[in-house]
């Protein structure tokens, strides 16, 4: 139990570090040295030291937005097995709870954005309301695949112990489809290129950045922390999928997990540096690809497991 809580705290505290890896990769592709790896910690401390300016158009919902989005990201990590160990909480059906908790965070982020009466934030909110609909369909298709393989509906059953290795043994190469589909979902949900560019500040190209335009100070620090934790959540799932090896040494599992995370963040950084952002109306096609991949994976294993 304490090990799980310790791992959860470690995940929350190291999430900003891993996001800096992406910045370093992007700088490498640009021939630059890039910001230090601890940049996100400096940013969080800087933001916490500041005060805030609130718009006169906003109400209490605006103050609630960062709180709920951070809390839901932290809650999602509570249910996830980190480094193959048992998660803090686990029960049958907790996958659905986590997906809907992330939806709760999205609701409050959108509500906080609409509170400011700004057309920029309305634009971001409208896009944020649209793309995750297809993401939800793709996530549930992946969930159907996992349930078909294992007959269980909890993260602990999929990713802790030798659950993932068993998945690879049963499903085989069709799990590759799931990995790619899940990677596409990661890019969409966390506002990475090619869906959204986290480094731009033009309203025509923003989704997440524009929604949090009016937040400042500790509110913005909470939003940033929530975003780091959410990316860590998705990356941890992928890391568990791509490096499922179980070994006798106690530290080895943690090392493999961190290596897997490093690979995932590296690939995200490479994609951000190499591909341009898609035009907004091509994004639904992009996300539907992940749904199609998950769907095909399920159909293939249907035949295999007859």
């Amino acid at each position: 139990m304490f090990e799980s809580i310790f791992l959860w705290l470690g995940a929350v505290l190291t999430a900003p570090f891993f996001s800096a890896v992406i910045l370093k990769v992007k700088a490498f592709f640009g021939g630059k040295k890039g910001p230090p790896l601890l940049i996100n910690y400096y940013t969080l401390i800087k933001l916490i030291k500041k005060g805030s300016v609130y718009s006169t158009s906003t109400t209490a919902v605006f103050k609630l937005g960062p709180v709920v989005s951070c809390a839901t990201a932290l809650a999602a990590l509570l249910f996830l097995p980190i480094a193959g160990r048992m998660p803090v909480i686990s029960f049958n059906g907790d996958v659905i709870l986590v997906l809907y908790l992330l939806g709760l965070g999205r609701f409050f982020t959108i509500a906080a954005a609409m509170d400011t009466a700004s057309p920029f934030e309305g634009m971001g909110a409208a896009r944020e309301a649209f793309f995750p609909i297809i993401c939800e369909a793709a996530m549930f298709m992946t969930l159907i695949f996992f349930y078909h393989m294992t007959g269980e509906l909890s993260f602990a059953a999929y990713f802790s112990g030798d659950g993932t290795l068993a998945l690879w043994q049963i499903a085989g190469p069709s799990l590759l489809f799931i990995v790619i589909a899940f990677f596409i979902i990661l890019l969409t949900e966390n506002a990475r290129v090619p869906v959204d560019d986290p480094a731009t500040h033009l309203e025509l190209t923003m989704i997440h950045e524009v929604m949090v335009l009016d937040h400042s100070g500790p509110d913005f620090a909470l939003i940033e922390l929530g975003a780091f934790c959410k990316l860590f959540f998705y990356a941890a799932i992928l890391s568990g999928l791509i490096l499922p090896f179980e070994s006798g040494f106690t530290g080895m599992g943690l090392l493999l997990f961190v290596a897997g995370l490093g690979i995932v963040y590296l690939v995200v950084g490479v994609i951000e540096s190499v591909i341009a952002r898609y035009r907004m109306d091509k994004v639904p096609q992009f996300v539907l690809t992940s749904f199609a991949l998950a769907f095909f994976a399920t159909i293939i294993t249907l035949e295999l497991m007859q």
Binding site: Y54, S55, V61, T72, S118, A129, I133, I134, A137
Partner: protein, 652 residues
């Protein structure tokens, strides 16, 4: 069943009292509200007692050997009775201040009378035990709600809405009546007990026809066309009752017929899940295309009926595939959603009613910023929106989790049930995402931001009973979301009455599930409190100031530059293009200098668009041909009467 009859007599007395004292505005309203509320409370307590005790009561009356009324209250009826009485109670409390400054005290009294009649007839529909009682109560329900829909009959759109509703409910009733007639011919009695003796083909046909008939009352696509017209036309507390419970009587009919027919054919499940997925997705897509708040909420009711049908269909597939867990999860999830939807939809309609009452407009794009001036309405509306999107820790999530678990049980089946279960799960996921988009839209455009026109400026809330009713419903949503156990056990008892062939449904395995929901709710609540505490600690000695919203350096911002509802939903509606055709009228600007022009867009409902050429025109053509029967010549009419008497003499 003495308590049941006392309850409906009290409600009816309230209606009659208000009619008798119609001239005294305050006294008729107060009397009606007190008596109707008393009757509803009595009936609610009785229904809950019957549910928890799992007993069945019966009562019957006979009159002159012709008129044989029979009532039966088993667990399923008691569940629906509880929902009916609870929502009618809240609506009655709400109506006291809502009808305060209505024009004409006589009309208010007449509306109160028909409201009481509606409540009584709905209660009688769900407890009817033979064909005569059922059809009588069904007709009474349709007629009383018709008179409620045309409350403000001066406006043309209300007349059209009433007429459409009248036609739809009677065509649906004809389907039901025709089928009941065939059943009478088969079984020779008016009772429900021998329905299962029909042949298999007759049963399948019976189910399909009953589904059409009850589906038109419930608002299943494509028979939902009356819903978006009738709900905005009626006064808000009536819309709450109609949307919260009256459409559920259609669901009750489908469930009752399914349990009476006793034919576990899988095709029923496929039909119901298919209809549910289509209604759910299209309902919320059309809701996204509306600018009238109450029309939007009406389409959202279509969506939730779709969700309930998905759950019901999953239960039917479970019965057909001999998977008791799936069957119980599906049906109990559907029934739990009936309760939850009644609560949060009434809450949303009451909030919309307060907004319409204070601002005088139903158009979303004329409002804005109401959360600052209407705090209680706004907070209640936020809770209602969170519940309807199925987000934890509110009650919508609890019902949807049960349905998801039932759907996942179906993944282990093969071929067609597998495909249908996959469609059900993906359908629920997409509906949830679309509902989130729809209700963040309503919240964002109506309650947040800045007022777009003068209609929304400086409008405060008034009416203590209106706020009380909304507060109670919001509290109920939160309580059921965090502690769903006891309420879920009620729906489990109701499933037991469906006569599925399982001896007695054990509550213990489901206690694990509802305990998990409670645990999850506490996790998120504790985390939110902790993070809020951390946040206020961060803000301890920090400078906080207020200023205008940053406009990206633009020097002349106006409130009209905010996002409108149409822009918000534009991409989503466009994604569903074939099913939600978007019509845009935009005369081009000619010449070199700026001139005035206009832009108009509407989202068409394809069922309504196909109704005119597909149904109305052929029927008009046919009856035009038969117009020669009504010559206007009295001699011909006397000849008709003679002919009818002669023909009847052959048959009697």
């Amino acid at each position: 069943m003495i308590h049941f009859f006392v309850a409906i007599s009290l409600i009816l007395a309230g209606g009659v009292l208000s009619l008798v004292t119609a001239r005294h505005h305050l006294f008729s309203r107060a009397g009606a509200v007190i008596l109707i509320s008393a009757g509803c409370v009595w009936g609610l307590v009785d229904a809950v007692a019957a549910l928890t005790g799992s007993v069945t009561h019966t009562a019957s009356f006979q009159y002159l050997n012709l008129f044989f009324l029979a009532f039966e209250m088993d667990a399923l009826s008691a569940f629906f009775l509880g929902v009916i009485f609870l929502v009618c109670l809240m609506a009655a409390v709400y109506s006291f201040h809502y009808t305060e400054d209505d024009t004409g005290s006589v009309r208010t009294a007449v509306t109160a009378f028909f409201f009481s009649l509606l409540a009584v007839s709905m209660a009688m529909v769900v407890t009817a035990a033979n064909i005569i009682t059922f059809m009588l109560s069904w007709e009474l329900m349709s007629l009383s709600s018709f008179f409620l829909v045309i409350h403000r009959y001066e406006q043309k759109e209300n007349q059209y809405a009433g007429f459409l509703y009248f036609v739809f409910s009677h065509v649906g009733a004809m389907f039901i009546f025709a089928r009941f007639g065939v059943i009478y011919k088969f079984t020779g009695s008016f009772g429900f007990t021998d329905v299962h003796t029909l042949t298999e083909g007759a049963k399948i046909l019976a189910f399909v026809l009953f589904f059409i008939g009850f589906g038109s009352k419930a608002g299943v696509f494509p028979f939902h066309v009356w819903l978006p017209h009738a709900h905005p036309a009626a006064p808000s507390h009536i819309s709450a009752v109609m949307s919260g419970v009256m459409i559920k009587t259609g669901i009750y009919g489908i469930l009752r017929i399914y349990s009476l027919l006793e034919l576990p054919a899988p095709v029923f499940g496929y039909l119901v899940v298919g209809a549910g997925v289509v209604s759910g997705i299209l309902g919320v897509v059309y809701a996204l295309g509306q600018t009238d708040i109450k029309r939007l909420l009406a389409y959202s009711s279509v969506e939730n009926v779709g969700i309930i049908l998905i759950g019901t269909g999953l239960g039917m597939i479970g019965v057909a595939s001999r998977n008791p867990l799936m069957a119980v999860l599906g049906f109990s999830g559907a029934l739990f959603h009936v309760l939850n939807h009644a609560l949060f939809k009434s809450l949303l309609f009451m909030g919309a009613g307060m907004v319409v009452h204070q601002t005088g407009t139903r158009s979303m794009d004329a409002l804005g910023g109401l959360l600052k001036t209407m705090k209680i309405t706004g907070s209640a509306f936020i809770i209602g929106s969170l519940s309807i999107c199925g987000l934890p820790p509110f009650n919508g999530f609890a019902g949807e989790l049960v349905m998801y678990l039932g759907g996942f049980q179906g993944i282990t089946l093969d071929k067609i049930p597998f495909a249908v279960s996959v469609a059900a799960i993906i359908g629920l996921a997409v509906i949830g995402g679309l509902a989130l988009a729809c209700f963040t839209r309503v919240l964002g455009i109506v309650f947040q931001g800045e007022p777009r026109t003068g209609a929304a400026r400086n409008k405060t809330e008034s009416g203590t009973t209106m706020q009380t009713a909304m507060g109670v419903l919001a509290a109920a949503c939160v309580i059921i979301g965090v502690f769903p156990g006891w309420f879920f056990n009620l729906s489990l008892s109701a499933v037991g009455a469906l006569n599925l062939g399982y001896a007695r449904i054990p509550m213990a395995p489901f206690a694990q599930m509802t305990g998990d929901i409670t645990a999850g709710a506490f996790v998120i609540l504790v985390l939110v409190l902790v993070v809020a505490g951390v946040r206020s600690w961060f803000y301890r000695a920090k400078p906080v100031s207020r200023s205008g919203t940053w406009g990206c350096g633009f020097t002349q911002p106006t409130v009209k530059m905010q996002y409108t509802g149409t822009s918000y939903a534009f991409d989503i509606v466009r994604f569903f293009r074939p099913a939600a055709p978007l019509e845009e009228l935009h005369p081009p600007v000619a010449g070199r200098f700026p001139v005035a022009t206009r832009y108009e867009s509407r989202v068409h409902d394809i069922a309504e668009r196909c109704m005119k050429p597909g149904v109305v025109r052929p029927v008009q053509f046919l009856f035009d041909r038969l117009r020669w029967i009504q010559h206007g010549d009295i001699h011909l009419y006397i000849g008709y009467i003679l002919l009818a008497i002669v023909l009847l003499l052959f048959f009697i």
